[in-house]
Each structure stands twice: as C-alpha cells, then as structure tokens.
Amino acid sequence: MSNEKSCCCSASSCCNTKSITPYDKNDKWVTGEIFTLKGSVPVVSTNLHFKDIFGAWKVRWGIGRMNYKISPGLYAVGKPDHTSPVLVSANYKLTFDVLRKELSGLNCWILILDTKGINVWCAAGKGTFGTDELVNRISKTGLSEIVSHRKLVLPQLGAPGVSAHEVTKQTGFSVVYGPVRAKDIKAFLDSDFKATEEMRTVKFTMWDRLVLTPIELAAAAKLSLVVFGILFLLNLFAARPFGLADFIAYAGAVITGTVITPLLLPVIPGRAFSWKGWLLGLIWALGFIWYSGWFVPESLLLAIGYLLVLPSFSAYLAMNFTGSSTYTSFSGVIKEMKIAVPLITISLIVGIVLLLINSICV
C-alpha cells in the first residue's frame, strides 16, 4: 500500500526533503504535502469520498477488516505550523476517517500510531496504542522539531494503554485527554482543551449498537454453515427431515441473539447479556412453535426440543455481544459465564438429543 515518496524535482531545495510518512499517491484522501524542518508531511482531506464510505461499510460486515489500515506517522490538516495542536490517533482507516471528517477548517497535526489496524479503544486495551509506541512515534517523526509547544491531545479512550505521566517523563510532551467522540474535538479545542462531562462519557446508543450487529451476524452465519452441513447429512437418513420450518426457527434464534437483543439491550429486563438473549429467544421459540402448531401431543418432542435449543442459541450469541459493548467488565463477564455457559450447554445437548430422537426414530 505504502511507497516511499520519490525524490525528484528540479528545484534543488526540495531534494533535501524526505517524506516523514509514506503514503500511496493514488489515495484520494491525501490532497498534497506540507514541508517541515524534518521533511514532508501528507496533507489530508476532511471530506470522505465514496471509496471511504464503501470501505467503512465493508469492514462493518467483516470484509477485509483486519487489513484496513494506513501508514503510521505524521499527517497534516489545513496549514498547520509549529504552534498548531497535535492530535494522536490509531492507524485503523475507519478510525482515521471518523477523525478527519470532523476537522474541517482546522489547522492541526495528526500523529498516527501503529496499532496494527485496530481502533483506539481496543488497541489501548491490548497496549498497542500505548506508552512505548507513542514515545517511539514521537521520536521517529521528529515531532519535537516540527512543533515548538509540548502538548499532545490523545483520545480519551486511549487512556487504558497510555500512562500520561510516563510519556511526559520520557519525551517532555504533556498529555491532555480529549473527548471520547471525534465530533466533539472542535468544541474541545475552542474551549482551551476542556472537555465537558458529557464529552467524557461513553454512550452506547441504539445507532451505536446497530452498526455493530452486521459483524455479529456475519460471524454467526459462518458458524451456521457447519450446522447446515450436519443437518444435511442427518437428512439423508431422517424419518422427519429438517426443512424450511426448522431453518426459520434457527435463523430467528440467530437474529434474536445477534441483532434484536443488542438493539433492545437496555430495555430488556435483567443485567446479564445471556439472560437477555435467552429471554427474547424463549419468546421467539414459543411464538414460532405456537404458530407452527407444534404444541400438540404428537409434536411434543419437537416442541420441547426447540424450547431448549433456540433460547440457548440466542443466549450464547447475546453473551458474545459483551465484547462489543462499552460497559461490561471482565469480572462481570466471568461471573455471568460461570453460570450461563453450563446452563446453555446442558440445555443445548438435551434439546438436540430430543430433536434427533424426533427426527430419526419417529
């Protein structure tokens, strides 16, 4: 993706300038270069093009998500000089795009850390958005000779990986944690680096949860192929083959766990995610079994089997949404899982046995 800028020109002065941050000349989001004492820095657009928006859509569905990144280094927005603020961020392209589109009309520097294409918060949790990488990147880009001030603005969600006082000790730069959301950056800079409590608090709106559901659905779909493969083999010698009704019952449970539960998360009673998923899965199972007319003595095995299997699927998938949520703690997840995982397993096994008996022996 990245190639070194070739040194090439007729004017003798520019031949001394090397490129601080490599970039691909075909990238539309780079609009030019700005020259500094340490070399040239790419200037980035604050507008998103079709390719950026389509790229965001793709990674939301898990397509090429682990390789959606830009070169770490220094970038410029507008016409920054040695007094302009320095914003620090991650090299996940989705993160970078969300940031730059909020910076129109500003003159500032963006210092991009190498987080292996992971967003700020997750990278901070792993430590790749961390003290060492930041200290290293400051020295690699020669930042202390490009700006005359000694202040860095870090995203607040980078704090789990960065020790602010340690950065100051090692580089002389002081760290100010900016707002959680990029859209508040202008207001933050205008108010002399002060974030309101509202800017400091992580939310998890219905929209925030909605954009996370495609990746859950895509992962569940991949797993489902295995389930369908097994059912196909069973059908070869089943007395009651699995058909469309079974597919709908299963798909409904999957969508309940991966989409409906996340969307309705705060309004579903209870606190544990698996419980919330189980509850909605049970409602789905009861509704579907009733609709299919399986609450009759001759279909009893089928009805009980599905009442055990379907809510368990939803519970498991909903439990996995803890990783996408913004407020679950490690201790809490462990506590939840110690109870939920054995119950889900038992319920699934008993349910599957009943369904198999019903399918093969009846």
Partner: protein, 97 residues
C-alpha cells in the same frame, strides 16, 4: 436509558492516603466513576466500572488498583479453549472488537 451491568463485581480499589487529588482519573474514566472533592478522589459509582484500567494506568501516585481486562465472552472462551489468558487478540483472525 442508562446501561447497567452486574452489581458488586468490579475490582476497583482507591487508596485515599496515596491520592493527591490531581483529577486525572476523572479525566480518563469513560463512565464517570470518580469525582474529586477537597483534593481527594472518590469512587462515586463502582458498579459502573468496566475495569478498562485507564485510571490506574494514569494515576501518578499508584493510588488506584484494578484487575483490568477485556469484558468479552468470546475472548474468555478462546482463553479457556487454548488454556491461556483471555485475550481479545484479533490480529490473526476475524474476532471480536
């Protein structure tokens, strides 16, 4: 509507003795768990703590301790299966976060 997770599980601890009241914890906490009054930080809502570790990492006097980790069931399961620490390591597969 505010999100609430399980009660009485967070491992967050604050030493009032070591605290110098710099307020860094209120700056980094994503859930407003801390407040600073009369130059001392206070845990005002422990049940909202998600154990991200930002406060302890940025506390200049080590007054805050928390067993930080990822609150991610998939990571815990991977840890159980591999017999390793739970890790949300997505670098080699299409995993979580």
């Amino acid at each position: 509507m505010k999100h609430r997770y399980l009660k009485n599980v967070a491992t967050l601890r604050l030493s009032a003795e070591k605290c110098i009241g710099c307020g860094r914890c209120t700056e980094v906490c994503p859930h407003g768990v801390f407040s600073v009054n009369e130059n001392k930080a206070k845990i005002k809502d422990k049940d909202r703590c998600m154990e991200c570790g930002a406060c302890s990492k940025n506390c200049p006097t080590n007054a805050i301790a928390v067993d930080s980790g990822v609150g991610c069931a998939a990571a815990v399961i991977i840890g159980w299966l591999k017999g390793s620490e739970p890790s949300c390591d997505c670098s080699d597969s299409e995993g979580c976060c």
